[in-house]
Symmetry: C2
Subunit: 205 residues, 2 copies
């Protein structure tokens, strides 16, 4: 199946909205509801759903309990969603304790750092020496890492993570890293985002 | 001038690379150098530069000192680059002390929070009551805010920031917010990024 990142992002948003509707006691949801919530057309919603083999009927809508199971399967939520944090400075520790993950079923299971001062194997989420990482990743079958090392350490860390078989990296280091067929990398460069925004705000009309 | 976000992002990357070359003592840079550093063609580099009116010649390359001034002007770096952080919980405080901003000439000048326990007007970067925000933003001519409030507080905060005349918001709250002609919003939803990545990693071929 060949799907775009945009359609997967919409699927995630649908799930978030549908989950809230469920908590409000809703039993069905209509493509019009979801279109309104996301600011898109109901045609797009039905197109996305049919692309992933999700069925409803125009009058009856989609059964919420069924659709959540389907969306979770599409998003891999029914699988283990363990991640590690590589680089446990301030940003790394903030993400280790980030409350927004649990609602998505994502769990930071360990942190790794090269600085002995940051290592804390007895912590609520253990922080281990980076040398222990290859073993841990293999044993715990970790697929995805969050990279929060300083800029100078990023190229080596990226290389090592790929060599360890990590399949996805959310990269907060200010280094542009490219995905390859074995490893999907998403770069979140906060300074760059702000910089671009200053441009847009001050751009001549 | 109508430019794409992608070309502005490349301009930011060019500047970062050129800045490093300058610190290595380089005086000139060639489109081939920049193409290699970004993994794109030199044709694209020259196209971007000419789109923004930057000139060099194929043999002589671009003068680094001149090009940095030009790129800074394009990126608005010669202007004041003050931002505020709205919501001073753990993520907000981490971004207030984020070391990656200073290299880009961005300065977090204040934080705002609704919780008296978080307020610290005497801090290195002051954290003030959110009620003081409208006055501060007007007086200090703040254009851009980083939003790090919890999900439940995000819709109101977004509305208030727009009403205060904020022109750009980097939104870390897990709420999808849309730009409008008066306010450019970039959503950084960390949990959603991870969620999408789990999908891609586990997607059937």
């Amino acid at each position: 199946m060949n799907v775009s990142r945009a359609s997967i992002t919409r699927i995630s948003h649908y799930r978030r909205v549908i989950f809230k509707l469920k908590s409000l006691g809703f039993q069905r949801v209509f493509s019009d509801n979801l279109g309104d919530a996301l600011g898109i057309s109901s045609v797009q919603v039905r197109k996305d759903f049919s692309e992933f083999g999700l069925t409803g009927n125009k009058k009856g809508g989609y059964q919420i309990n069924e659709i959540i199971v389907d969306l979770d399967r599409i998003l891999g939520k029914d699988m283990l969603r363990k991640v590690v944090v590589v680089g446990c400075g301030r940003m790394g520790k903030t993400l280790m304790s980030y409350s927004g993950f649990s609602g998505e079923g994502i769990k930071v299971v360990a942190g790794f750092d090269a600085d002995p001062a940051n290592i804390d194997p007895e912590g609520r989420i253990p922080i281990m020496d980076v040398l222990e990482m290859p073993d841990y990743i293999r044993k715990e079958k970790i697929q995805i890492a969050i990279l929060t090392v300083p800029e100078h350490a990023a190229p080596t860390a990226l290389e090592q993570l790929k060599n360890m078989g990590i399949k996805g990296i959310l990269n907060f280091a200010p280094v542009q890293a490219d995905s390859n067929p074995n490893c999907e990398i998403r770069n979140i460069n906060i300074a760059l985002e702000l910089e671009n925004m200053f441009y847009f705000v001050n751009a001549p009309e």
